[in-house]
């Protein structure tokens, strides 16, 4: 075994262990902040695996997108709403956990079986290393042109949608009739309209009590 392949093996083992342990931690830890930080570790190990596969561009993109953007946003969200709340006890939690664990294990075994029974075409095509950046660009502007351009519509829409949902200014009244509006569904669960105004409606009664 040459030094290079030994190094590669060690790196692979280390990255895989980090990946598996990290992902388990993300799912199992009760502290959501730890989960988020571990997710960062998981993303980084995936980037490391890409590097081992000679896909340095994909690795750098993985770090930039998943660690630099996605994970930071997740952390932001967690830290901005990190409110300690006593949630209601979930009934039969242990049983539920056992069940979901069983389902996951079953899925894992199924995947394992699939993995072992499939005649994979190994070794696959030879990696092109540094040429990958150029190759990716070529693909994006030849046979993947349509999804690439469509992705811009998708991103534009997500951005606009996020702004629409997040912005504070709302119209206080209907632009055409001038009625008050509340940016809610039109189908309100209202008390019947022709109820005698002198007798309080059931909901109003509840409020006074």
């Amino acid at each position: 075994m040459t030094i290079a392949s030994l190094t590669q093996l060690i790196c692979f083992a280390a990255l895989s262990i980090t990946l598996v342990v990290g992902s388990l931690g993300v799912v199992l830890l009760p502290n959501i902040v730890y989960s988020a930080f571990l997710l960062c570790g998981v993303f980084l190990s995936v980037a490391g695996l890409y590097l081992l596969l000679n896909a340095s561009f994909v690795a750098a993109a993985q770090v930039l997108v998943y660690v630099g953007a996605v994970n930071v946003l997740i952390l932001f969200a967690i830290m901005l709403v990190n409110k300690k709340e006593d949630l209601a006890e979930i009934p039969r939690l242990a049983l539920r956990r056992l069940l979901s664990g069983g389902v996951c294990l079953g899925l894992f075994l199924l995947l394992l079986r699939v993995d072992l029974t499939t005649p994979w075409a190994v070794p696959g095509p030879v990696g092109i290393g540094e040429g990958a950046t150029i190759r990716i660009g070529e693909h994006l502007f030849s046979d993947y042109l349509l999804p690439f351009e469509l992705a811009s519509v998708l991103l534009l829409m997500s951005m606009i949608g996020a702004i629409v949902l997040a912005r504070r200014d709302v119209f206080g009244s209907d632009l055409i009739t001038g009625e008050d509006v509340d940016q809610g569904l039109i189908e309100k669960v209202r008390p019947p309209l022709l109820l005698d105004p002198t007798t309080p409606s059931p909901s109003a009664l509840q409020e006074t009590i």
Binding site: F57, V63, L75, E130
Partner: protein
């Protein structure tokens, strides 16, 4: 470096523009002369440049700290550090020693693990980014194909460390500082990346070495700063914001947040933040030099100089001289920028957080996009001048 270079035989020529010094092939050839296998020789070589750059980075920080103290003193018409060494040059060393021996305090209600991990996560990506800083044609640790993109990616890890230390300190100022730092960092990364993209578009490569090579040829006239003046300004502003230098040092604004995410830190952990921020400053300055100021290029083309002096560019002595000149030029350009950064720090008032975000999102981002579009258009219109 120079000793290894003088010992080295003429390096193996590659298809590069100017071969320049190739310390690696020289070093491994010597070791192979001692009877080592090429793989073993390579293995022995591997850590050397890393160590060298690590030392260079730390020394760079020491110089930086000294400069900061001296220049700020000069700006304020004081004298500055004076007694530790000649002109106080040993002052940063004393600072460092003090931090090293200080008690390492972890607040009682803090999260010890994350509290320790935070500063490490801040420092490591910055040091890793030195991988791609070239000091000459072959004087770079790793001329990876994704070069400058690697730096952008690595610098996006930093906010995680800042958030981590801000959160784990269990202190509202720390948390606010961490959030501010992360927000600032991700906001300014985008115009920064777009500015870099314009340069990359002109040089047709992400590799830092290729970017510098594309700026050689006509000396100072071929530097990117003439072709990308807007990009240069955007990049420099964003780099300052990424380094949290004044006028963008909101995450640690004393009047508002005590010291931001560093509030609870002391001793070596604080030193890591300190080191990280200064290494980052030097790194940013180096990258400005590489991207816009011709990297290791001399203002007058070296080939032309050697030609007028009647020397062959490939002569060993000339190579050593050009290599050294390259290193000196890179460092000189970088420190010139560091000097401006320090001057800016002591002359400009701090912006408000909303002004900071407005500047990033509403001004720099559109300008950077327009710059990118204009560069693409110019590239199509004048391929000779804008890198066809």
């Amino acid at each position: 470096m120079t000793t290894a270079a003088t010992l080295s035989p003429p390096p193996v020529l590659e298809a590069a523009v100017t071969p320049g010094l190739d310390l690696q092939s020289g070093f491994t050839t010597i070791l192979e002369g001692f009877g080592l296998s090429p793989a073993a020789a390579h293995l022995i070589w591997l850590p050397l440049p890393m160590l060298l750059v690590l030392v260079a980075a730390v020394v760079g920080v020491l110089v930086n700290v000294w400069l900061e103290r001296k220049i700020s003193a000069a700006v304020q018409q004081r004298i500055g550090p004076e007694y530790a060494g000649a002109l106080g040059v040993l002052q940063p060393l004393a600072d460092g020693l003090k931090l090293l021996f200080k008690e390492d305090v972890i607040p009682k209600r803090a999260d010890g693990l994350l509290f320790t991990l935070g500063p490490v996560l801040v420092l490591i990506p910055v040091i890793l980014s030195w991988l791609v800083v070239p000091f000459g044609q072959n004087l770079v640790i790793s001329d990876v194909g994704v070069g400058i993109f690697l730096w952008i990616a690595l610098s996006s890890i930093q906010p995680i460390g800042l958030l981590m230390s801000g959160y784990s300190s269990n202190n509202k100022y720390s948390l606010l500082g961490g959030l501010r730092a992360a927000a600032q960092s991700i906001s300014y990364e985008i115009p920064l990346a777009l500015a870099v993209l314009a340069v990359v578009m002109m040089s047709n490569s992400l590799s830092t070495v290729d970017i510098v090579n594309q700026q050689s040829g006509a000396g100072i006239l071929s530097w990117n700063i003439w072709r990308q003046p807007v990009g240069f300004v955007i990049f420099w502003i964003c780099a300052l914001a990424e380094c949290e230098r004044l006028p963008f040092d909101l995450p640690e604004a004393e009047e508002e947040l005590v010291a931001g995410y560093q509030t609870e830190y002391a001793g070596m952990k604080f030193a890591l933040f300190y080191l990280g921020s200064y290494i980052n400053l030097v790194l940013s300055a180096l990258l400005v030099a590489v991207l816009y100021l011709g990297g290791w290029g001399f203002p007058v083309p070296v080939e032309w100089l050697a030609g007028t002096l009647g020397q062959s560019v490939e002569a060993p002595l000339v190579q050593v001289i050009t290599g050294s000149v390259g290193i000196v030029m890179t460092v000189l350009k970088a420190y010139l920028l560091v000097f401006t950064a320090i001057l800016l720090r002591w002359t400009l008032p701090r912006v408000r957080i909303d002004q900071l975000l407005d500047l990033g999102w509403k001004f720099l981002l559109p300008i950077a996009l327009v710059n990118l579009l204009a560069t693409a258009g110019l590239k199509l219109a004048f391929p000779g001048f804008f890198g066809g």
